[in-house]
């Protein structure tokens, strides 16, 4: 009887204990709902990269990676539910792929001591590690994006935007409003006139905004859109015959999904990107050998090489490099979230390292620190070739205007610290 009880107790303990020596990385994905077309390629790329590491290298540092996928439907409440239901699994880091979910997770994850990596979205001022200990948003943020777009236009106009008119067409949400403050600062600095044109969710009807653009004839239009808003905006721009080469979207308005429905009308449309498009990289050969040909591709396996698939890959790559760094710093392979935070803060991904990883020049070099959780703020401009149905990189990596961005990051993050009673760190 005693033996039976002991065996039962042992069984219960084993069942209750987390699986041994696993690196748990949740994927808050959205494969259903209005934004599924964008959520699917990202989630596939994210998962496939970890599958590659598991299949080829036996995980990271000898520890297998377990990806827990949780469907958010791009809904903030569901995203928070996903966080709550997966954090007990020993989750190391969250990549919410939603600015709304990120905003909700910042205080929760900070209290729980779990890092959040919001790559190119979320709260921009989280770049300041002195305030946001647990949040990372490298390689670039929304304000970097606004500055990169303006710098590109300055280059195109022989060094000056004096007297030019730029309209911002934006999703009328926290996400869409992110670049406004930066663009206002840049407008004052460079002498261009800024017009703001909000579009209500979901953005299926934008006639008013584009009639206004047709009347006011801005020299350039910038766009902060997501989902159907992007396709409709590009279609309307084409309808009013706005010069597409003067229309630039943020990196969330620059996937194949955004331009393909418009057909030839989208020719010349530009978008920013924080990494390169396409699949002409050695890493894809590795993926083919170890993941695709093994019949282990995530989802339908039909998203490879698309902009958002590449973004998912890149996000997973940055996280895996952070894990590697944490293992190196702490001398253990089965790391904790706090150790991963240290890894993220000391993360360095050089161009050479990107080449080693099979993605030469794919993303900018990243050098993080306790203070800098946002990287160097670099991005490229890509242009849509409708005939070839491909994005073409047309600039090298452009660095954002740190004079403007850093001041704004400081101001916003310090205000948050004061409101939330956060003591500054890294002193």
């Amino acid at each position: 009887m005693k033996f039976k009880l002991a065996a039962l107790a042992l069984g219960a303990v084993m069942a209750a204990a987390p699986a041994l020596a696993e690196l748990v990385v949740p994927s808050l994905s959205y494969r259903t709902g209005p934004y599924a077309a964008n959520g699917i390629p990202f989630a596939d790329g994210y998962h496939d990269y970890f599958k590659l590491l598991n299949a080829r290298d036996g995980g990271i540092g000898g520890e297998m990676v377990r990806v827990i996928e949780c469907e958010t439907g791009y809904n903030t409440e569901k995203g928070v539910e996903c966080y709550e239901s997966t954090k007990g699994e020993g989750s190391l880091v969250y990549a919410p792929l939603s600015t709304g979910i990120t905003y909700q997770l910042i205080p929760k994850a900070s209290a729980d001591g779990i890092p959040v990596h919001s790559m190119g979205y979320g709260r921009t001022s989280a770049k300041n590690g002195e305030v946001f200990e647990w949040v990372f948003n490298y390689p670039a943020n929304y304000w970097d994006g606004a500055s990169i777009a303006v710098k590109h236009l300055i280059d195109e106009n022989g060094g000056s935007l004096e007297g030019k008119k730029i309209a911002l067409v934006y999703h009328n949400s926290a996400y869409g409003k992110e670049p406004i403050r930066t663009l206002e600062e840049l407008s004052a600095k460079h002498g261009f006139e800024l017009a703001l044109l909000p579009v209500d969710h979901p953005g299926q009807e934008q006639k008013s905004q584009w009639l206004q653009i047709r009347r006011d004839r801005p020299d350039y239009v910038l766009m902060w859109g997501w989902g159907v808003m992007n396709q409709v905006a590009i279609q309307e721009a084409s309808n009013i015959r706005f010069p597409m080469e003067n229309f630039i979207g943020i990196w969330w308005s620059g996937s194949e999904n955004d331009v393909m429905p418009v057909g030839a009308g989208a020719e010349g449309y530009k978008a920013l990107n924080m990494h390169l498009p396409g699949d002409d990289f050695p890493l894809y050969d590795e993926l083919k050998t170890h993941v695709y040909d093994a019949g282990n591709a995530t989802g339908a396996g039909d998203q490879t090489g698309s902009v958002l698939y590449n973004r998912g890959l890149y996000n997973a790559l940055i996280i895996s490099e952070g894990i590697r760094k944490a293992q190196e710093i702490h001398g253990v392979t089965d790391i904790t979230p706090a150790q991963l935070r240290d890894g993220f803060e000391q993360l360095t991904i050089s161009e050479e390292r990107m080449t080693e990883l099979g993605l030469p020049n794919f993303g900018p070099a990243i050098e993080a620190s306790c203070e800098n959780h946002g990287g160097q703020g670099l991005g490229i401009v890509q242009q849509w070739n409708a005939a070839d149905q491909s994005w073409v990189q047309i600039t090298d990596y452009i660095e954002s205007d740190k004079e403007v961005i850093n001041a704004l990051v400081q101001e916003d993050s310090l205000a948050y610290a004061q409101e939330s009673g956060i003591e500054l760190r890294c002193q």
Partner: protein, 328 residues
Amino acid sequence: MPDQLLFAIEVTLNGLMAGVLYALVALGFVLIFKASGIFNYAQGVMALFAALTLVGIMEGQVPFSHLINAIFGTDVHHFAWEVPALLAILLTMTVMVALAWLVNTLIFRHLVGQEPIILFMATIGLAYFLEGFGDIMWGSDIKTLDVGLPQGLNESIDEFTFNLFGYGFFIDNLDIVATIIAAILVAALVAFSQYTKQGRALRAVADDHQAALSVGISLSFIWVLVWSIAGFVALVAGIMWGAKSGVQFSLSLIALKALPVLMLGGFTSIPGAIVGGLIIGVGEKLFEFLVGPLVGGATENWFAYVLALIFLVFRPQGLFGEKIIERV
């Protein structure tokens, strides 16, 4: 003519055209509500499902291919053919009729005599089921819909107004086509309900279910008929909206644009849906043009509902709705 006035006229014309597109969605709601008293929450999803099916058939996509591949380890996605637009529309219509029969047989036949709120709840369930079913059947990717409809600036109007006023008006060719199709659709629906046996039976059911049954009209047949017509209207709306933005799952949200139209025009009137659509379209566009810049813009979504609410206060049954008389 002053510039502002010219712009206002251009905005009004575009508002009218947008209103027609809203009315196309609202029509489906009206048809079903009129014949069965059901507020069909699934109408927007039906438009999505119809458009997905149309593109799937046109492109020769294998339905449920992801599921088939996952279960059998195959790699099938497309048949080796493409279907011309007109034939694909006819085939899609057949699918919508089959859907109407299934909806009636599996759901509403069992709910005859239930409270309207129960029927409404059933349509909510139907909406979510249909959205998931459409996803499994055709996938979630954004599909390009090209049935040969013209899009972009109408050059004749642009040139004509430029010669007249010195400013060329922008009118989208797709909106003009939508207006013509909506006019034909409404005329056909009116002719059908006035001059055909089935149409008269439909009106009889709409007036009084019990009386219609007593003279031998099959309620079940009429409901299948009306859901089929609503399916056809959903297909037309799906084509128009899908041509603007590609066929994607946010298409189901166009139902949100139909609600203020129904509140304003009434739930039981086909002309009400059209007039309501036009008033909402013009109202929201003019408000955005005149007041939007003063309040930061993005007024269209909420102003449409404010406009509908104002009408509701003075005429709860809507502009063309039947007056509600409760006798004790």
